[in-house]
Symmetry: C2
Subunit: 463 residues, 2 copies
């Protein structure tokens, strides 16, 4: 009897294996792509520990299909040579276009600076509606890679094109992208001409400057191009269909949470004897802190509200659509070593996923993909060192945020990739999760540019 | 026509979803559990970049089923309170027994120090053979959790039970586990009485000391208990069946690779002006290095050779078996900030997986699980900072290994959880992968103690 049971198991196993490794023939449907910027597994674990406890599950943890994504970058000087850590510009370009490029580039090739076709170009050719929602500027790297082509992510508006200081002592040059040099112009100008149906996010300041070839501001050009421009949640509520540009803050939208009194991760303080030799003296760790509401988050729509409106507008005429939703400040807050900001932002992503899942009840042909663009610096380190039994002072050389979780214990989060004003990304693989529509479509591992092919095959099947 | 196609897709999708989310009725078969100690996604990405390039795939990357594992620990003082970073003792206990406990414990409960039943106890009740293979001591925390019960992982032999300095200035007390105190004795003594069929690894020194209650050394007791003791690859080759204890090194088995001239990660050197203010002066990064063969790896079996022998011996009588294979020094080398050592050790794990996959051709009812016990410190950071355009010197405050990969570029690996002689673990979720037998059995996310249930349900089905 056992032999028969074993055989039955083998046949069953082989059948199921074939079922999930063979692609289902593609049929058109909607695609909702949710990108947590910098949302590697460390960031998700940090947020889970805080939001639902280490044994709990976030909505994204319940998604039935899991993959891991190899993030690929190349050198701009030698595009055949690998670079092991990406930024949001080239990783979003990989997702949006299927092309591996160098850091900082938006929809252009490494070294040769050629424009590459993106998923939105292809969707528009088939009359499929498209939308981009973000908590960053709508002209920031991640959304920009889905509609723009520049040699540098920082050229977000016409005043930031030639020899401009974008942050302290860092200058940028996009003169090759100027319209006067036969380029496509700045990112906000390219947005106006993109034909994308829905833009919602921050970055108003990139639209209130004169366009390169017109006296008008870019915002006026957007209205001329047919966009209904909304600047607050009330105006957003009133829109039901049509082209929509929502700009709810001058720059990146403020996050929902912050550390106590806006504290971030800090260095430990060392006694003078410890500064003489590591084995001597004492160390004072940063004080533990709670997370609190961010008072700057006022008069703004949540990521859920933006997601719900985008879904309503894009599905109003019952056509298929592609919607990218970015929770941008998991990364931006991690760069600034603000753990509570990243946690709150991941909460926003999880809530937006809930909305997308509710939408699939009435639109079951909707493929939901949740992924990240690249790794980030944060690590959960032991609140009590593994070597605490030793008599020596042991501490991280980086910045540490000791967050008191709702359960009571302290979670120590280490940011130690550099000591600069902003931390570094890391080169780890990132997760990709999918709803049940992804079964048989999403393999257990893939490269980041293969996400483009996955979306294209589902959204725009051949023949 | 489109409506019909959509409906067909929904029906197909729902069918496949049901197929993979419903458990297949359990039938007995072998289980091979491969544990990469400290093998989080950062470690796998580091090894992949080096071994096959960032676009390449390791054998473990090809496994068709992927899950993510929530690592759980609790406080020994308050077992209801979460601790966010594990060690190998309590995480292996979770896998082996399904019980969440506190760091340092082997098969015992947090606070109350009660012995808990492990998967090997249950397998032996059903007459199923068992084996434990590791590159660490066979008495080290990960294998020990599958057969032993102590309040502290460091009590590896009878001479390490009471007030012993296990490493610099750290003392340990396992007097409650002394046989004279009605305990089960040290870990090596418990090994002798465990009834496990195959042990292969390092740790001879823990067997060449007198047993607590006998004049004999523990090794003599092992022989009396029926173990064939082998100490080198030639002796190992001669074994075909029966109880087997292979001890190939005094302590942890040397790894196959090391850094150039045994270099490890190092601090950057700062100019004196930089030590005055971060924005001034210069920084000299550690010199890049190649990986090279470790000359200490001589006269030793590889993990593949040990795996092949364990599989041959355990399957010699055509009975079902449970085999745990640990690649231990991914973690141990990472603690010492030796990136090449971890990479070579992960190569060993990948080769052992290849052997296990070959075995499944003739034994298709074999469930292979590949997972890690906890996260480790290493991060891939940018070789050229994301902020390199700024005029300031930017560098990690931790130790950095700049590894020249076979493709040519430098991969920068950061170890910055502390500045102690050994780095810390991290609290990130860890991957779990499975062969096709895992389809329908392995969910997309699980807690670490649920791995115990997964193994038990497959190996020892009810009824």
């Amino acid at each position: 009897m056992k032999q028969i049971l074993l055989s039955a198991k083998v046949i069953l196993g082989t059948f199921f294996f074939l079922v999930i490794t063979q692609s289902i023939p593609a049929f058109a449907g909607n695609v909702i792509l949710i990108i947590g910027d910098g949302m590697d597994d460390a960031q998700i674990t940090i947020a889970r520990n805080y939001l639902v406890g280490p044994r709990g599950k976030l909505s994204l943890d319940h998604l039935p299909v899991r993959s891991s994504v190899q993030v690929l970058s190349v050198s701009d000087q030698n595009p055949k040579q690998a670079v092991y850590v990406a930024d949001s510009a080239n990783s979003a370009t990989a997702i949006a276009t299927g092309v591996v490029t160098s850091r900082g580039r938006i929809g252009t090739t490494a070294g040769t600076d050629l424009d590459v076709i993106n998923i939105i170009d292809l969707a528009q050719e088939r009359g499929i509606k498209t939308g981009l929602v973000t908590t960053a500027n709508v002209t920031d790297a991640t959304p920009a890679a889905f509609y723009a082509h520049t040699n540098n992510r920082d050229c977000e508006n016409p005043s930031l094109m030639v020899d401009v200081e974008v942050y302290s002592d860092v200058f940028v040059d996009c003169s090759a992208d100027l319209k006067s040099n036969d380029g496509k112009g700045s990112i906000s100008e390219q947005l106006v001409g993109s034909g994308v149906d829905v833009f919602l996010g921050g970055g108003l300041k990139h639209f209130t400057v004169p366009a390169e070839d017109a006296g008008d501001e870019v915002l006026a050009m957007a209205k001329q191009a047919g966009y209904q421009v909304v600047l607050n949640p009330e105006q957003l509520n009133n829109i039901e269909q049509g082209k929509l540009l929502g700009l709810f803050s001058e720059s990146t939208m403020p996050v929902i949470w912050r550390g106590e009194d806006d504290r971030k991760a800090e260095h430990s303080e060392l006694s003078w004897t410890n500064s003489i030799h590591w084995s001597m003296g004492e160390v004072t760790y940063p004080e533990p802190m709670h997370c609190e509401d961010n008072p700057d988050f006022t008069g703004l729509p949540t990521l859920v509200e933006m997601t719900d409106k985008a879904l309503a507008v894009l599905s109003a005429e019952d056509s298929d659509f592609f919607l990218m939703i970015e929770s941008a400040s998991i990364d931006k807050q991690a760069h600034r070593r603000k753990a509570c900001g990243s946690i709150g932002e991941l909460q926003q992503l999880n809530d937006a996923l809930d909305s997308a899942l509710v939408f699939t009840r009435s639109h079951p042909d909707t493929l939901i993909l949740v992924t990240a663009d690249h790794g980030q610096a944060a690590q959960i380190i032991p609140e009590e060192s593994l070597f605490a039994a030793s008599p020596y002072p042991i501490y991280s050389p980086g910045h540490v945020a000791r967050i008191i979780t709702p359960e009571g214990p302290v979670m120590a989060i280490n940011y130690a990739t550099n000591d600069f004003v902003a931390g570094e990304h890391t080169g780890v693989t990132v997760p990709l999760l999918s709803n049940n529509v992804g079964v048989g479509i999403v393999p257990s591992m893939m490269t980041q540019p293969e996400i483009f092919g996955l979306i294209k095959d589902y959204l725009l099947p051949e023949g």
